[in-house]
Amino acid sequence: VTRLRVGLVVAVFVVLAGRGGRLRQARRVGAEGVPSAQGLYRVAFETDPAGSPVNRLHTWAFALRDRDGDRVGGAQVSVDGDMPAHGHGLPTRPLVRDVGDGAYVIEGMKFQMGGRWFVELRIDGPDGSDRARVDFELVG
């Protein structure tokens, strides 16, 4: 019976290992909140950055919280991004819109190819200025 269990575990492990890439992609990036560099804010992405479409304009949504977990409205947020292996940056200049109650949307997001990306939010809010960065991999 023990060997049967071991066999089952090995079989399941082998099957999962073969599909590991999928499992890694399926994990949400930044859902629990990305802390800003100085810890002034936390950015909780409602859109999964790693699930972004490649080469298509789309919109992200996120909630901004302060260090106590309260939602932060009225912040000025700008967005930039880059692909370290290529250095060409985002092909667009996305615009951030405050939609109320600490919720924001980023319009004009576009990634022109698959691979490793990061997106950085520069936040200017009531608690001061800070930056929050999310790293993720897009499958082209």
Partner: protein, 372 residues
């Protein structure tokens, strides 16, 4: 008994993995699920209808397309009656001319681009200085080295030879042809040509048949395809059903000896924003919020020396290559990407690939499968 059961389970597990890997377009090749998804995204079957152009109210009007087809081939739309759009965008040669630099009234600074699928692209010309197909179409008409005429001359050609067809689509021609009225007619000339160009779709190729399940690619072509979507990184920029992402990249292509150092995309952006025929201008039918300028990157070092990757559909049959025809053969192109030389202008995004002769020959074989 238990040992046998464990063995059966292990074999079953292996069989599941083998099935996952082997279910490819061809029984002879093995692709992962991600690779299969990528291959399908490159297929012509994945090409959506062209998006509507909000700056051109007439782009889906078949009467405009029929009129635009006639405009496209009419040499009266040139200074001396010697040049039409089809003089360089030759329908029988995939809407290009096979020359390093286009030659019309004079010689231009750029390689003629093919047109199949062009209505899918947001930015037009090699440097993206146009934001719509109609705005692109009017520039060569007044360029002194291309058609060389004027909008006033062209408005008169339309009034004299196309009045009925023009008015059926665009309404009455203005009674007095001042510059502003002529400009309106000129913009509509571009909008009709754009409606025609919107109908030009790429032809189906062996690659598309392969993705659809036909076993039509040989071993060398499949090896090339595997490199294309893998180690050679071609698919980073040459993605989607047109094999281009339509954006701008610096790949360190050396300047043409006859043209000199390349103009920069920053200059193209300045031209775009100052263009009376852009999406934000008075001849556009779009609201500003519908225009791609809204999210346009307007400055920065990343724009230096960047050009749009061309579609690779049919590319194997249309040397020479690059924006000024700098590279004579497909072998030269593959060699360039393999070596990844430093850029003369800005910084190249390329890294040396370290591919061998056999790899390059395989890539070349695969690229040939992208021609009808």
């Amino acid at each position: 008994m238990i040992r046998r059961l464990a063995a059966v389970l292990a074999i079953a597990g292996a069989a599941v993995i083998a099935a996952v890997l082997a279910l490819g377009p061809s029984a002879g090749s093995r692709w992962t699920d991600d690779q299969k998804r990528l291959l399908r995204s490159l297929s012509l079957d994945a090409l959506p209808p062209p998006p509507d152009d909000p700056s051109n109210l007439y782009d889906t009007d078949p009467r405009a397309a029929a009129l635009g087809k006639r405009f496209f081939a009419d040499k009266r739309f040139s200074r001396d009656g010697s040049v039409s759009c089809s003089s360089c965008h030759m329908p029988r040669r995939g809407f290009q001319d096979g020359k390093p630099l286009a030659e019309a009234i004079g010689r231009t600074r750029r390689r003629t681009m093919p047109l199949a699928g062009v209505a899918q692209l947001t930015w037009l010309f090699w440097d993206g200085r146009k934001d719509s197909l109609w705005s692109q179409a009017v520039e060569p008409l007044e360029s002194r080295v291309e058609h060389g005429g004027t909008r006033m001359q062209y408005a008169r050609v339309i009034a004299r030879h196309y009045r009925r067809e023009y008015e059926a689509v665009f309404g009455p021609l203005p009674r007095v042809l001042d510059r502003r009225a002529a400009s309106r007619v000129f913009a509509n000339l571009g909008k009709a040509i754009a409606a025609f160009e919107r109908t030009l779709r790429p032809a189906r190729t062996r690659f598309d048949r392969y993705v659809a399940g036909e076993d039509v690619l040989g071993d060398r072509e499949l090896r090339g395809l595997r490199l294309f979507i893998g180690r050679a990184h071609c698919v980073d920029c040459h993605s989607g059903p047109l094999f281009t992402n339509g954006e701008f990249h610096n790949t360190g292509v050396p300047p043409s000896s006859s043209v000199g150092a390349d103009r920069e995309r920053a200059e193209a952006i300045r031209k775009l924003l100052a263009d009376e025929f852009n999406c934000l201008g008075v001849y556009s039918d779009a609201a500003p919020s519908q225009c791609p300028e809204r999210f346009l990157v307007r400055s920065g070092a990343r724009l230096r020396g960047a050009f749009k990757p061309p579609s690779l559909r049919g590319a194997a049959r249309r040397p020479p290559y690059m924006h000024a025809g700098q590279l004579r053969t497909l072998d030269d192109v593959l060699e360039h990407y393999n070596r990844a030389p430093r850029a003369v202008v800005g910084r190249s995004e390329l890294h040396p690939l370290g591919l061998g002769r056999g790899d390059l020959a395989a890539l070349k074989a695969f690229l040939s499968s992208l021609s009808p």
